[in-house]
Subunit: 259 residues, 2 copies
Amino acid sequence: MLIQSPKNEKVKQWKKLLTKKGREQSGRFIVEGEHLVNEAYEAGVVKELIITETFRSKFSETKFDSVPIQIISDPLGKMIGETETPQGIFAVCEKKNETKGDGTRFLLIDAVQDPGNVGTMIRTADASGMDAVIVGKGSVDIYNSKVLRAAQGSHFHLPIIEGQLTEWIAKFKTESIPVYGTSLHKGESMYTVAPSHPFALIVGNEGRGVDPTLLQQTTKNLYIPLYGKSESLNVSVATGILLYYLRGTDGFSQRLTEN
Amino acid sequence: MLIQSPKNEKVKQWKKLLTKKGREQSGRFIVEGEHLVNEAYEAGVVKELIITETFRSKFSETKFDSVPIQIISDPLGKMIGETETPQGIFAVCEKKNETKGDGTRFLLIDAVQDPGNVGTMIRTADASGMDAVIVGKGSVDIYNSKVLRAAQGSHFHLPIIEGQLTEWIAKFKTESIPVYGTSLHKGESMYTVAPSHPFALIVGNEGRGVDPTLLQQTTKNLYIPLYGKSESLNVSVATGILLYYLRGTDGFSQRLTEN
């Protein structure tokens, strides 16, 4: 059955998922585009597939066994879509509400507001082999469509935990995992720390940086040396530099030195 | 004199500077907001200052000696401004048309389209102490307002050169500066290269990567190891990781090893 009316009950429910409140009340969120829908399906979180009439013509249903599929008109696709040129495929997904973070390498995000930054940081944490990302209060909602898009599917690759950063820092310290804060003016160069296997890195708000009370709880606070005239780095770029530096080179640099 | 009419000749000229064509014809561009205006003024490229009535009340003119100042109505400020909440201060600046890139460390940008990415990469090149950035054909205009904003003033800190990348690569090779391309699938791990003083790094388009013909000209092509399940990194993040890795730690890591 083709859904065409914006007043259809299902459409109303989907539109609620475009707001943080709607996502919190239902425990669900929407992903958009083939790549993210495939990633969500492989992660087993897809509850419902939504495709537009136009997309249907090039669509193979067999791939998405056991998931109910709704066909909607193209104008409705534009209403639900949040990209400029919607592909016409969406999935309603169930939040996993991760609470457990096992492992030894973590990224902690404190009050980062820009969805592109948070999404890029989740993608970078995935790429650099972190075991989980902990997102503290005051950050943008991790199920915001722009966060999901910038993360390019990494939400489905590692646990993204919404939690109290102070509690997590305390937990890491009892496990002897060093916790590094970041601070432009009150830290030490990141090169004062040798890359090590276990670590937790805290990065903070675009303007204010990491909350000072969190910085007091850390093992050490680090900055990235600035060699030119710029006053700071973009927070996602800084996160990438720090995560790759701290995780080390898996023995590569040692081999280079030996040559 | 307060300028209020959108039909005023000056206003028409300023609006042309919001387009790439207008900037190319006049050799000028507009920066917006106190931070960028100050940076442009210190760099000596400001030809004209534009402030809104509201901004004028909190404005100290003495700082901008010898620059003509135009006062405009608040609605005109919104017309010229490209941010959501314009601060009400703008500067018309002269392009420097840099062509000379002296030094030993360079970032080359090939066909990167997103203005936020290009701006962030210019900011990162500044932070990591590069001597110049070379921007090839097919990239977004470096004087686009979003590029200027993301770079946060770094346009005024180091030469940003619009040029032919093939010619620059050839030049670097005659100067024995190693040129590293980046390639996800056809490169070697960046850790196969030891950090060294002189180098030029080429990063490329968000989807296609660096042009294959450029990759054939390089000393070596590198990738950043991916340890998780993500397929790639954001190009600005990748640029940050590579620039900081390649520039080395100024002896820090050696000292760490000695301890």
